[in-house]
Amino acid sequence: MASTDTTPKDPGDLAGLEAGLDALETVQTTRKPLRHTLTQKVLPPVVAVALVLAVWQSLITFKIVDDPTKLPAPADVWGVLEKAWLQGELLGYIWTSVSRGLLGFCLALLIATPLGLLLARVKLIRAAIGPILSGLQSLPSVAWVPPAVIWLGLNNQMMYAVILLGAVPSIANGLLSGVDQVPPLFQRAGRTLGATGIKGTWHITLPAALPGYVAGLKQGWAFSWRSLMAAEIIASFPDLGVGLGQLLENGRNASDMAMVFEAILLILTVGIAIDLLIFSPLERRVLRTRGLLVKS
């Protein structure tokens, strides 16, 4: 820099001033200690679940509901779960449903992403099928089970079809709203840097739309899981293997309320666990790197 340096000889002054300003204006962010996370984030839901269990147990203990065919004791449900675990069947039920759900979700992702981009880019297509796609989101996915069974028969393809019909609209809509919310300033800045056409989509539009897209994925998973359970409950068939939905239906057929409760608890737990393990961390990561997640 020496050869072209024609600045007046006060760089030390200016550099020092600037370093001071930077230090004063930069917000120091530190990660919260683990104890804080435990007491603020983990403890409240644990207490809430414990309270529900306590109420449930007291209904049994004080014989407010005294009919095991209507309300089984928590210990009975635990017993059914333990038995399924010891017989090595529990993980089988879970895996049957989770593998279907995740595979269906991945298929939905592959179809919905280009669809969402197409809707965002081509006005005519958006005008034509945009409203239908948003309308589909409010259609309960259980409505797709009868036609899917008639078209495809009682098999895994039918399950995937129901998942797709449930998840594709919400993922595509998420991506679409993500693209809609990209600030025009980013597009202008991108264009002055030379990011036009496909380069603009890749370097500017897609990363800028990521928060909306991830929200769509999260909702898409919830829809996939719900659709799958509807399909499994209605279309249970021995050859398909026993997933959580079939487990619920089997419990109903056997009038075994403990088994019904077992199935409901497992469906709920798996749905929450996938969200907590995959989608919530993904969403937090995306938002945090952008400074959009305000720590409280």
Binding site: P8, L21, E25, L193, K199, R290
Partner: protein
């Protein structure tokens, strides 16, 4: 860095102007039919020259800058520039999904800098705006002044001969703005860039520019130009800066008053 900067300074011989604006008019469709925003503007920016465009609201100075940047087309007349100009906005417009350094590297990538040179070049540019070591910082971790300096480094990464600046310091506090004036002057003199700088702040215009162009409002026309030959380093509180500012402010107020008279 000396080599790249020296090369940039040599590249000015080929062109006789960094930007040439010839009889440019621009009108937009408004509620009362076509509304003329810019009326027959002619202005040349010489290589290495620092020009500020000054005017009140509605003088179309940002519109003019968009025309020079190629983001919009004039209704009449022609704009020619020596290559694609770099543009800095009032908002930093840094991409929040990238770190400070990666923002600069994206600009380098889009202008075709080889992959293995990008990182080093980005570090050099951050050094130039005195933010060495900020490569891995996220945009939200930087202060307003630091963000504008990264934005300046990103604009410099384009290695354009012309830097367009649209009120880039208007949202900063007075102390930071003053420091960034010094920085911009230093970088302009080191790089030999041409700068077209839009502002509504008279003192800022006088402190920075070699030439101040005053635009009248509705429609925007060139009302008057001043050559500023106050030697650098200038300070915002210098008597010479203050005196010229008073003169220009008088003229600017005159332009604004005309709009209240009918």
């Amino acid at each position: 860095m000396a080599t790249t900067l020296a090369k940039a300074a040599d590249g000015t011989q080929s062109a006789t102007h960094a930007a040439r604006i010839e009889h440019v008019s621009k009108s937009f469709a408004g509620p009362a039919g076509q509304q003329l925003v810019l009326d027959d503007i002619s202005l040349d920016v010489a290589p290495g020259e620092f020009v500020t465009l000054l005017g009140a609201s509605g003088c179309g100075k940002s519109t003019l800058l968009n025309l020079v940047a190629g983001l919009d087309r004039p209704t009449a007349g022609a704009v020619t520039t020596d290559g694609r100009p770099a543009l800095m906005f009032q908002e930093h417009a840094l991409f929040p999904w990238l770190t400070a350094g990666k923002n600069i590297e994206l600009a380098l990538k889009l202008r075709g800098t080889p992959k293995n040179e990008r990182r080093e070049r980005a570090e050099q540019l951050l050094e130039l705006v005195r933010l060495g070591g900020a490569h891995g910082k996220r945009v939200h971790e930087l202060s307003g002044g630091m963000r504008q300096r990264v934005a300046l480094a990103r604009a410099l990464a384009q290695e354009s001969r012309l830097l367009l600046m649209d009120e880039p310091f208007a949202a900063l506090d007075a102390i930071t703005r003053d420091v960034l004036h010094d920085e911009l002057t230093r970088i302009w003199r080191e790089t030999g860039l041409s700068v077209l700088f839009v502002t509504h702040n008279v003192r800022e215009a006088v402190r920075l520019a070699q030439r101040v162009v005053l635009l009248s409002s509705r429609p925007g026309r060139i009302a008057r130009q001043w050559t500023v030959d106050i030697p650098h380093p200038r300070r915002i509180e210098d008597t010479a800066v203050a005196e010229l500012s008073v003169e220009i402010t008088e003229q600017l107020r005159g332009e604004i008053r005309r709009h209240g008279q009918h």
